[in-house]
């Protein structure tokens, strides 16, 4: 085929962003559409584990092998998103000895570097481990920031000519003469410039091929062309602690089970998880027992968790898939492998490929396989380069140390900024302007926030995921109004207020699951600041007040006449 194929990728999670980058690098004309912001779906709701493969070394060795392979690739191409914490599978006295041996053998079989260490050695590494932990298997697990990784993939795709449209929901698949030829999209209609790319309105995007990379939502896209994609969404809870009780990924060494992993992530530790099938990936119960189970069960491994401070919990929905003929009863039995569904082969409807299943760690490999599949369809002669070319921010990593000297960034804040930005540090921080800290919990400066706004527009949630601002202890209590201030005057006051309200509500959503002890105190402080001092609960811009009825000051002759009764300019 002579012309450049036009590809629409639906879904802005790790898989979609990975496919978009891969295809754009191979020269395709790519448009990525995402209904929320990048990582809106499952990618933004995972525990941040960079798998060594150890977790699957007994139950699913194909996945385990893929994990260790991609683990090595990501350390290289996404170094600014990865923290190689190392991991351990720890065994308590009541856990099965034979399973421990199987795990060790499985790691060996899958080329996962694994070493048995004693309970004492394990506690030397992680002093808060329970005193009765017998022994552990040490593996190269790590932590990865899914937001940063997806943003970097999208940025790379964009550098290679891709168009990225967030807050743009696919409302229909275009089917003409027995072929899918594009998508109908509804662009976000929030006030002002809240979206990346086109604002509001409908658009028909024609394509030579559509890639459905919507994970747990893949069935909904399939339905639009009467295709049966039987994704089995399965929810899992993640509970975030306010500090890192551990600096190493701690896995419980026993067969599948809930509440068996602790991942140190930036300033926090994330406890996970559960595995329960749900009907609707957007509407499922988030329940107290799940949070309590995380804390109670994982405190068997790290006892101090029982009385530690949690700052929020969130749930993610795994896009599990298995061929219909398998018919697993329990979602924990469903494979973590991924499946490429060519709808021409499978359903006789050309023009779309769906990717389902899989896991975050192998997102790049999945992207490569889909891209191979797509380019083959169009007879393009282009090899995958995503395993070799570093992502923006991870280029010339050795230069990083020089930046830190150059900018005098020895302070903890400077170091954290540079770690987040990687090789983009100079471009972002070297503004020559004063650079005060806006988010004290996470040490995020004005320069980083401005950089994020230049990418995310007025969507403060987009700025949040790029910078971690508002993701620490106070959950935005002290910084959300500062972040809002950074949007002005580029965005008008009404847009800023709208985005400010959205971030307040988004932060509240997760905190609800951590409201006891210090975090309940924090919630009350935040409420007092936002409602009492800022009056955001009865903001007179939306709850009009009659200015003339109020005190005009001591000894004042300026009392307003009734003709100057104030009215909200834009009450909605």
């Amino acid at each position: 085929m002579a012309s450049t194929p036009r590809i629409v990728v639906v879904g802005g999670g790790s898989t979609g962003a990975g496919v978009a980058r891969d295809l754009a690098m191979r020269g395709a004309d790519v448009t990525l559409v995402e209904q929320g912001n990048l990582t809106h779906g499952t990618t933004g709701r995972m525990h941040g584990l960079l798998h060594s493969g150890g977790r699957y070394a007994v139950s699913d060795q194909k996945s385990a092998r893929e994990c260790i392979e991609e683990n090595r690739v990501l350390r290289d191409i996404a170094s600014h998103c990865v923290e190689m914490t190392g991991g351990m599978f720890v065994k308590r006295p009541e856990d099965s000895e034979s399973y421990f041996e199987e795990k060790l053998q499985g790691c060996t079989d899958c080329d996962i570097p694994a070493e048995v260490i004693s309970g004492e050695r394990a506690r030397e590494r992680e002093p808060h481990l329970a005193t009765d932990v017998d022994k552990a298997i040490s593996v190269p697990d790590g932590a990865v920031d899914p937001f940063r990784l997806v943003v970097a993939n999208a940025a790379s795709a964009q550098e290679h000519g891709a168009r990225i449209e967030t807050h743009s929901k696919v409302t229909d698949l275009l089917v003409e003469s027995g072929e899918i030829v594009g998508v109908e999209v509804e662009h976000g209609a929030k006030s002002g410039e809240r979206v990346h790319g086109v604002q509001s309105g409908r658009e028909t995007i024609r394509a030579d091929h559509v890639v459905n990379a919507t994970g747990a939502w893949a069935g909904r896209i399939g339905d639009m062309a009467d295709l049966d994609v039987a994704v089995r969404p399965s929810k899992g809870v993640m509970t975030i602690m306010n500090v890192r009780q551990v600096d190493t990924v701690i896995n419980r060494c026993r067969p599948k089970g809930d509440a068996d992993i602790i991942v140190p992530h930036e300033t926090t530790a994330i406890l996970g998880t559960t595995d329960e099938e749900v009907e609707d990936p957007e509407d499922y119960p988030e329940e107290q027992w799940e949070v309590d189970q995380m804390i109670e069960t994982l405190s068997e491994l790290v006892p101090m968790l029982a009385d530690a401070r949690s700052i929020r919990s969130f749930w993610g929905v795994r896009p599990l898939y298995e061929p219909p003929e398998v018919g697993s009863e329990d979602p924990t039995d469903i494979t973590r492998d991924y499946f490429l569904l060519d709808h021409e082969e499978r359903d006789g409807l050309p023009g779309m490929t769906t990717i389902v299943g899989g896991k975050f760690t192998t997102y790049r490999m999945m992207g490569e396989e889909i891209a191979d599949h797509v380019v083959a369809k169009f007879g393009m002669d282009a090899d995958c380069r995503t395993a070799d070319v570093p992502l923006p921010g991870s280029e010339e990593f050795s230069v990083l140390r020089d930046y830190m000297d150059e900018f005098g960034l020895r302070s903890p804040i400077g170091r954290r900024s540079v770690e987040r930005l990687g090789s983009r540090a100079e471009e972002v921080l070297g503004t020559g302007e004063p650079n005060p800290v806006l988010c004290n919990c996470e040490g995020v400066t004005r320069a980083e926030v401005q950089d994020a706004i230049s990418q995310a527009g007025a969507d403060l949630n987009g700025t949040r995921i790029r910078t971690r601002a508002s993701m620490g202890n106070c959950q935005g209590g002290f910084c959300i109004h500062r972040l809002a201030g950074e949007l002005h005057p580029e965005f008008d006051e009404a847009t800023v207020r709208d985005s400010w309200d959205d971030l307040l509500q988004e932060r509240w959503k997760g905190q609800r699951h951590a409201l006891w002890g210090n975090q309940l105190q924090q919630a009350m402080i935040n409420y007092a600041l936002h409602a009492t001092t800022q009056n955001r609960d009865h903001d007179p811009a939306t709850h009009p007040v009659d200015f003339a009825a109020f005190d005009s000051g001591p000894g004042s002759d300026r009392r307003l006449g009734s003709d100057t009764v104030g009215e909200a300019a834009d009450g909605d």
């Binding site: 005060p436 009492t532 009056n535 955001r536 811009a541």
Partner: protein
């Protein structure tokens, strides 16, 4: 030997101090003990009495109090007690305006909107929003808690009867990027010369010069609340004189200088009242059955008994840890007074950030005598009263009633404790 007094007040915030002053003025021998800095440093320094009942904004708090539910602290102590308590505040605490009327004022705050309040510091007085003078708001480039151009647009969107503009300037002198508000205040207090275009100019004048070129006919200028600490009136006066227009401060969040100044003034008033006080050691325990015989203060690792005839519990609410919780429940930590709360933790909150949260009303349950009551409704201790945010059953943040409830219940508890002296 226990350290002895007639009335012992536990807690050094607005409620505790008011209670101690009220008791001392009624003739009691009073001692106040407080542990950490009070939550005043987080508060705006405005003295709210009642700003909202439900979603309705309140013009006259005294008119609106009867609309509150009958167990609200204001209803328990009665409207006249609220008036008397505010009169005590006006008489004893310097530097506040608003007592010329029972009508609320609308004050601009750093969130960029206005809020109803009953008393405001002199420094904020020229900023009252029911005043049609055009306003220039000034922010400082590195002071991230106040974005003046956004605040100006926001206050206009709120329908204020004046036009507002905002400008962001660089504060004169060498300030590091993350200078604290107290650092700005200190520079203005000291008024040391700073270099401007090679010349030495006093800090206040240098600031006025930077603002002057933006005045453009505005009749008043609002700054973030950093205009001095010890000499705030002088700082404001100098700026007003040099600019030739009225100058005011916009109250901000923590750390809040107006809140810290209020704390200083309260403790000055406490001093003058003759009550004794000590700060820095927690009350950790008590002895007694139906009556509290003594409380135990932890001082340098040792347990020191303090005895009194009457006690006032004014340790604050969730914010100040006068009320604590864990995954199992909610309690008052010193006397273990009953704190009503839903058994299911997921009923403590609602789904919207500003919905009607149960946790916002957590606190001890009191009757009209302000004595904490147990789950069965019986009085926990005959000589213990509660005041301020330790009391539950009202949402001070939504109502904008925190200061007024602290003053009213502090006053009532201090007076009642004195009347009950045996």
């Amino acid at each position: 030997m226990a350290i002895d007094s007639e009335v012992l007040v536990v807690g050094g915030g607005l409620a505790g101090v008011t209670s101690a002053i009220a008791a001392a003025r009624a003739g009691a021998d009073v001692r106040l003990v407080s542990y950490k800095q009070s939550s005043l440093r987080q508060a705006s320094g405005l003295i709210d009495v009642l700003g909202y009942v439900g979603d309705e904004v309140v013009v006259d708090p005294y008119d609106a109090i009867p609309e509150l539910h009958e167990d609200h602290p204001y209803r328990l102590v009665g409207v006249e007690t609220v008036r008397d308590a505010m009169a005590l505040f006006d008489e004893t605490v310097d530097g506040y305006h608003g007592d010329h009327t029972e009508t609320n004022a609308l004050l601009p705050t750093h969130g960029g909107t206005v809020k109803p309040t009953a008393r405001y510091p002199a420094g904020a007085a020229e900023g009252v929003a029911s005043d049609d003078r055009d306003t220039l708001l000034v922010g400082f480039e590195r002071l991230v808690d106040f974005d003046a151009p956004l605040a100006a647009s926001h206050v206009e969107a709120a329908g204020a009867p004046f036009s507002a503009d905002g400008v962001t300037i660089t504060f004169p002198g060498d300030l590091q990027a993350d200078a604290k508000v107290t650092r700005y205040a200190k520079l203005l207090d000291q008024n040391s010369p700073v270099a401007v275009d090679g010349r030495k100019v006093d800090t206040r004048s240098a600031l006025a010069q930077r603002v002057a070129s933006h005045l453009d006919g505005h009749e008043r200028v609002g700054f973030p609340a950093v205009l001095g600490d010890d000499h705030t009136d002088a700082v404001r006066a100098t700026l007003a004189e040099e600019l030739g227009v009225a100058v005011f401060e916009v109250p901000m969040g923590p750390p809040s200088l107006p809140g810290l100044r209020l704390e200083d003034r309260l403790f000055d008033a406490l001093d003058r009242s003759g009550a004794r006080y000590e700060v820095g050691n927690p009350v950790v325990d008590y002895e007694g059955e139906d009556r509290i015989e003594r409380v135990v203060v932890e001082r340098n690792g040792s347990r020191v008994p303090y005895s009194a005839d009457q006690y006032v519990l004014a340790t604050g609410g969730l914010v100040s840890k006068g009320v604590e919780s864990d995954r199992e429940g909610v309690r008052e930590p010193i006397f273990d007074c009953h704190v009503p709360h839903p058994g299911d933790r997921y009923d403590w909150f609602e789904d919207g950030v500003f919905d009607d949260h149960a946790f916002a009303r957590f606190g001890v349950d009191v009757g009209s005598d302000l004595r904490p009551r147990g789950a069965s409704g019986s009085v926990e201790f005959e000589n213990l009263r509660a005041a301020g945010a330790t009391i539950g059953g009202y949402d001070f943040a939504a109502e904008k009633s925190g200061s007024g409830v602290s003053i009213a219940t502090g006053y009532a508890a201090g007076r009642a404790a004195t009347e009950d002296l045996t």
